[in-house]
Amino acid sequence: MDDLYREQIIDHYKNPRMRGTLEPHDYSYSDDNPVCGDHLRIDLRVDETGRITEAAFDGEGCAISQASADLLVESVVGKTLEEVKQLSKDDVLELLGIELGPVRLKCALLSLKVLKAGVYGLEELEEELV
């Protein structure tokens, strides 16, 4: 318990570094966790080499989902889209530094889901347009 709500999680929940929206953006995606009504949006700006220069998240949810979003979004700045596609569940858990049961895992991974859906979704759309 004390583990789950360790200082880092509470700090990123209460004082998020990356909260906001980017207008204009190169990538943006939103999704919900229907179980608890959490909502998350992630915006990215990307340079011509495909490297993320700016990132932001917005939404509402529990401490786990919001802290995970803040940590994840913070970690992708400077990464390429290709690198983002390689991110896994374990990378998010490593950022959070906690162990999670199956229910709370969904909270933690909403940010990864939104991030990846944004990156993949738009690229697929671009391919269709070519």
Binding site: M1, Y5, I10, K14, C36, D38, C62, A63, I64, R104
Partner: protein
């Protein structure tokens, strides 16, 4: 002020619920405050199911052998006890279903299909559980009738003036929950059905929360349909009941087709069985129905007026203590207008986190929208944390909840 007792001998009742003796983690006893989602089951219900399988198990109806006779008798006896429990005029007015959701879908897909069409109005309320909302939305999309909603005020009470006005639109059906699963609001069912009948509407009452927690008499409230689930009233999962006035049930087309719901079948067609069998296609949840019968016996022995009186003491004390917690906001009316359900928000803490921290001290509550998203939208909140009480909850368990909330405050305050 902290009450010392309620009308119930809770210590004795708890002896029938072995699950309440368990610990959530070593040294942390369970405080189960999630009965509005599903209740626990007493050993009497488990024994009834066990005994049915050990001694009487067979398929029901049409069997000539001894076991089939006994199984049929047990199943029909349970129907009779449920009919008595809610004051139905006859057991034929009780249709066994899986749960409240199925009961409401049954009404929508049978009564609704033949009685509703383009230009008609179905009047619901803003406080409905999704189970009394989505079936009507689905049917409205198919048949083209209009849905209207009685508004809920800030206290979580229905706007009765608006109800009166909306009845002026001539709804064919009025559907409302007897007790909100979020605010605990007890709606004035008898008054509402009388007004609806005067306006010419058929009335469906969602009794999922009321039937387990207070005296409900279908003839007194004059409901045309009443839907409820077994698992919220000490019974097993997978069985519930739809009460329907006999003449309405008789005029309705069947629901699912198959065995048991027919009188005669040829390759070209079929004729339907009489009520309630017309609505019970296929082998039903026989042992579960028997278990529900035992649950009804258990509740009847305590008396539903006593159940309600106990819960009134519990909720009044719970609300009093919840109000002490700085910043905490409880949704719903004064305790005398509601059942033993307290949904609340806490500034800076998400319901999921609240529930998680409460779990760490053994307190089981629910977090989320409680299948009532429109009501949460009305209150302009995404989710709440809900504590709900039943016959086996002790007064000091309210204190455990409050202690847990102070722990939440340490983290998130």
């Amino acid at each position: 002020m902290k009450p010392t007792t309620t009308v119930l001998d809770v210590a004795r009742i708890r002896e029938s619920f072995p699950i309440l003796q368990r610990e959530v983690s070593p040294g942390v006893p369970l405080v189960y405050l999630d009965s509005a989602a599903t209740s626990q089951r007493p050993v009497q219900v488990m024994q009834a199911i066990d005994e049915f399988y050990r001694k009487h198990n067979a398929n029901i109806h049409r069997g000539v052998h001894r076991l089939a006779e006994e199984a049929t008798e047990a199943y029909e006896a349970a129907r009779g006890r449920i009919a008595d429990f809610i004051g139905a005029a006859s057991p034929r007015e009780i249709v066994f279903v899986r749960n409240t959701t199925e009961a409401i879908n049954l009404v929508a897909r049978t009564w609704g299909e033949v009685n509703l069409g383009a230009g008609d109005v179905v009047l619901l309320t803003e406080m409905e559980h999704h189970s009394n909302l989505v079936p009507w939305q689905m049917l409205a999309a198919k048949l083209g009738f209009r849905l209207e909603f009685v508004p809920v005020d800030e206290q979580g009470l229905l706007d009765m003036d608006a109800y009166k006005e909306l009845l002026g639109h001539g709804p064919k059906l009025v559907g409302f929950t007897h007790m909100s699963n979020v605010t605990g609001t007890i709606n004035p069912a008898a008054e509402m059905t009388a007004m609806a009948h005067a306006a010419g509407a058929v009335v469906l009452v969602d009794g999922a929360q009321s039937v387990p927690h207070m005296p409900v008499d279908v003839q007194q409230i004059d409901a045309d349909f009443l839907a409820f689930s077994g698992h919220k009233m000490l019974g097993p999962t997978g069985v519930g009941a739809l009460y329907g006035r006999q003449e309405l049930l008789e005029a309705m087309p069947p629901f699912l087709g198959g065995g048991d719901m027919i009188k005669r079948v040829s390759l070209e067609g079929f004729s339907t069985n009489e009520v309630p069998y017309k609505f019970e296609a296929g082998t039903p949840a026989i042992a579960e129905a028997v278990g529900l019968g035992a649950a009804v016996d258990f509740l009847s022995e305590i008396g539903m007026a006593a159940v309600h009186a106990h819960e009134q003491v519990m909720i009044a004390y719970a609300l009093e203590r919840l109000e002490e917690v700085p910043g905490l906001r409880v949704f719903g009316p004064a305790p005398e207008l509601k059942g033993a359900v307290a949904s609340f928000t806490f500034p800076g803490a998400h319901p999921h986190d609240i529930a998680q921290i409460l779990d760490s001290v053994g307190v089981a509550v629910r977090a989320g929208h409680h299948c009532a998203m429109p009501l949460h939208q009305k209150f302009n909140i995404p989710a709440t944390t809900r504590a709900s009480f039943y016959i086996y909850n002790r007064i000091d368990e309210v204190d455990r909840l409050i202690e847990g909330l102070y722990k939440v405050r340490e983290y998130f305050g």
